[in-house]
Amino acid sequence: DVKVTQSSRYLVKRTGEKVFLECVQDMDHENMFWYRQDPGLGLRLIYFSYDVKMKEKGDIPEGYSVSREKKERFSLILESASTNQTSMYLCASSLGFQPLYEQYFGPGTRLTVT
């Protein structure tokens, strides 16, 4: 079974803090993704990576950055946390692009910024 793990289930941070969210997958997947999920807005893609050290912006990259130094690990960084970044953050991975592969999700990190 594919396993995607996230470093924290719940996180509380203060405005202005630098926040690191870690994601690890154990199935040698090429692609990794970071989403946020908010009521009424659904899942929105923040960033994704299709190879080590490669990254591309998703729909809402502002205020975030990412790092992928190893194939199995994808980190989301909030440079200076703000209250509007309070959300559920979901990491996902998929095997590749061709053919079309499904994405597998981690359990999520509920981040609260006060």
Binding site: G42, L43, L45, F97, L100, F105, P107, G108
Partner: protein
């Protein structure tokens, strides 16, 4: 712009009462449509991928179907453990790198 709309937003059924969830989409060439199940406070769990109109897939009490404009998730004789939010997502041919467009989800509650 690619869009996915799911209906209804919420659905309550009695145990054993079959029904269907709808996912309507407008995309510039469909590459694939995905169904996920999400339990409260957890990440989405993959259920099905459908690639072309007319395709059907089944898993236990769930059956997913696809037409050129929409997909249905049919739930037959549901049980309380089927209660969850069901998400639909599409990937368009024009989009790069597996970018998925998600619907808002249907929150399904099965009463015993």
């Amino acid at each position: 712009e690619d869009q996915v709309t799911q209906s209804p937003e919420a659905l309550r059924l009695q145990e054993g009462e079959s029904s269907s969830l709808n996912c309507s989409y407008t995309v510039s060439g469909l590459r694939g449509l995905f169904w996920y199940r999400q339990d409260p406070g957890k990440g989405p769990e993959f259920l099905f991928t459908l690639y072309s109109a007319g395709e059907e897939k089944e898993k236990e009490r769930l059956k997913a179907t696809l037409t050129k404009k929409e997909s249905f998730l049919h739930i037959t004789a549901p049980k309380p453990e089927d209660s969850a939010t069901y998400l639909c997502a599409v990937q368009a041919k024009a989009q790069g790198a597996q970018k998925l467009v998600f619907g808002q989800g249907t929150r399904l509650t099965i009463n015993p």
